[in-house]
Symmetry: C2
Subunit: 328 residues, 2 copies
């Protein structure tokens, strides 16, 4: 039997826990340790059969971990951690600050080349699978129009914005694609859609005792950047309802491209996801790209890579010959 | 400006004509000539502004064509043409006899390596885009169940089978996915589906004068391999209706994978196509892979490749840096 791919996880929030459980679904991988800024003892107390190590000691694992899966956030964790770790380990991350990806790529590439490692950046589903489908569809149908819809799903940023409104005790926001817009595109139309035409925002809010619900509603729906450009609904619920009905992290969406070929022949390509758990699914994508990083490294490649640079066959534990036989 | 990719087309049926019109949509490409077994004069008489050359003279274009797009059929044309041409040109084809792909790959690989060329085999949408999505979804959700639905679309093989029934003057067959099965999968179920549960077969038939319609219907619906395992409808129409309503070549379908992560969390990945013209769309995929073949060759690669071996970025005329900036 071939040696397993030895995985390390950096960061143990929802995404890190998702990676841990996804490793158990992939027999060609094994988890070496979880690295965290938190005291390993505090994590061990959860009674989990996993080795927890303080991030300060990560360098000692240089020969024990093949691919480090970085599960921190894009705001502050990854801009620091990926370049640091990319010279020591093959890495995979889900850096998703679109505007900063080109600069991030260059920094990580320099580190990975220096350490002779492979670093796959910005995987997941958007950026990630959605980006791949935008590229694929645009390359096949150069004359066309593309639409991305997100949801129905929880937006962390918008949920945080709700919670900052005075009088709000707790709340969650769902981004909801407008079905009539999707149906119009599927019918073959290529409408010009404004922000408001594509997505609605559904808010479920627990108000503090005695708070003015109308004032809260008004503060939310008129909030610039977050809500004022959308049709927003605000529903007040109890803390129990919030806990019972809205503690999941579903998400999903569609990338659609309507194009023409020949003399105006309509052609449509669509890619969609429906996810009961956004972090668990993102974790599963990271796992597949960890395998790809390992395969690229085995070929002698070094440097930073994105989902655009990696042959799909590298995502699979199967050999190229098996894939041709079974899946082509 | 960069030199254009010089394309040759071998075979000038529906697919070859589709490639020709797709080249016009891709400014980084130019058509050098169309190669055919037919007398070039007979093709020129159509009044098209294209250079037609007899296939016997193809070798003279060794230095004038970068990528030869092979538009013949999988039954007899491609098994002969691809290995022959793969040592002279970079090639792309849509060889789709699933069971024979592994052997075909080996033969073409040997020829391409010998001639130091790149040969991309079995592109299009199935095999091709659908295969890529099967691979992608299986790699991300290893615990899951996958479904492929084809249609609504014209099946050439089944249409031919109808036309062989005594008393039938003309006819066309549509493969139609069963919507209730699709809805069930989209609702999160992973049913075991029999052949009959997944697709219906809708036949539109023009009967010869005086033919027994009941006998024709019975002969069609009971035909083994083609129809007996399906729910089949037979509708008799006039030759005019057939010409007016059924002369297009629409097709499409879905690849869906329902999987689980974590503790039974449901996740679904879906890829779908809705095509007004099957050959024009297939042609557009071939064009994108012709570009990929050219890029692979520019990197010094040689040999046979499939859609599983090629980074998606190679399909685009944009550079890797542009793709990271614009599409990731």
């Amino acid at each position: 039997m071939q040696q397993k791919i030895r995985i390390g996880i950096v960061g143990y929030g929802n995404l890190g826990r998702g990676v841990r459980s996804a490793i158990a679904q992939n027999p060609d991988m094994e988890l070496v340790a979880v690295f965290s800024r938190r005291d390993p003892k505090s994590l061990e107390q959860r009674g989990e059969s996993v080795r927890f190590v303080h991030i300060a000691d990560v360098e000692q694992f240089r020969n024990d971990v093949d691919v480090m899966i970085l599960c921190g956030g894009s705001a502050t964790d990854l801009p620091e951690q990926t370049p640091q770790l990319a010279s020591l380990f093959h890495t995979v991350d889900s850096f998703d600050t679109h505007a900063k990806i080109p600069a991030f790529f260059e920094t990580v590439n320099t580190a990975a080349l220096e350490g002779e490692r492979v670093s796959v950046i910005s995987t997941g589903w958007d950026p990630g699978l959605f980006s791949m489908n935008r590229l694929l569809a645009e390359s096949i149908l150069p004359e066309g129009k593309e639409y991305t819809f997100w949801g129905k799903g929880v937006s962390q940023g918008h949920s945080d914005a709700i919670r900052r409104v005075p009088g709000v005790q707790a709340g969650v926001q769902y981004t909801v694609p407008v079905q009539t817009a999707i149906d119009l595109i599927r019918s073959g139309e290529t409408p010009e859609l404004k922000t408001r035409d594509k997505h609605m925002r559904d808010c479920y809010v627990v108000a503090e005792d005695g708070a003015d619900e109308n004032a809260i509603r008004e503060a939310i729906v008129s909030m610039p950047n977050y809500f004022s450009d959308y049709n927003t609904s605000v529903t007040f619920i109890t803390a129990e309802e919030l806990e019972r009905e809205h503690s999941g992290m579903p998400h999903g969406g569609f990338v659609m491209r309507s194009g023409v070929t020949g003399a105006g022949t309509k052609q449509r390509i669509e890619f969609g996801l429906e996810l009961e758990s956004n972090p668990e699914f993102t974790a599963s994508v990271l796992i597949a790209y960890a395998r790809a990083a390992f395969k690229l490294a085995a070929e002698g490649q070094t440097g930073a890579r994105t989902v655009f640079d990696i042959p799909l066959g590298h995502l699979s534990p199967k050999s190229a010959a098996e894939l041709r036989k079974e899946l082509l």
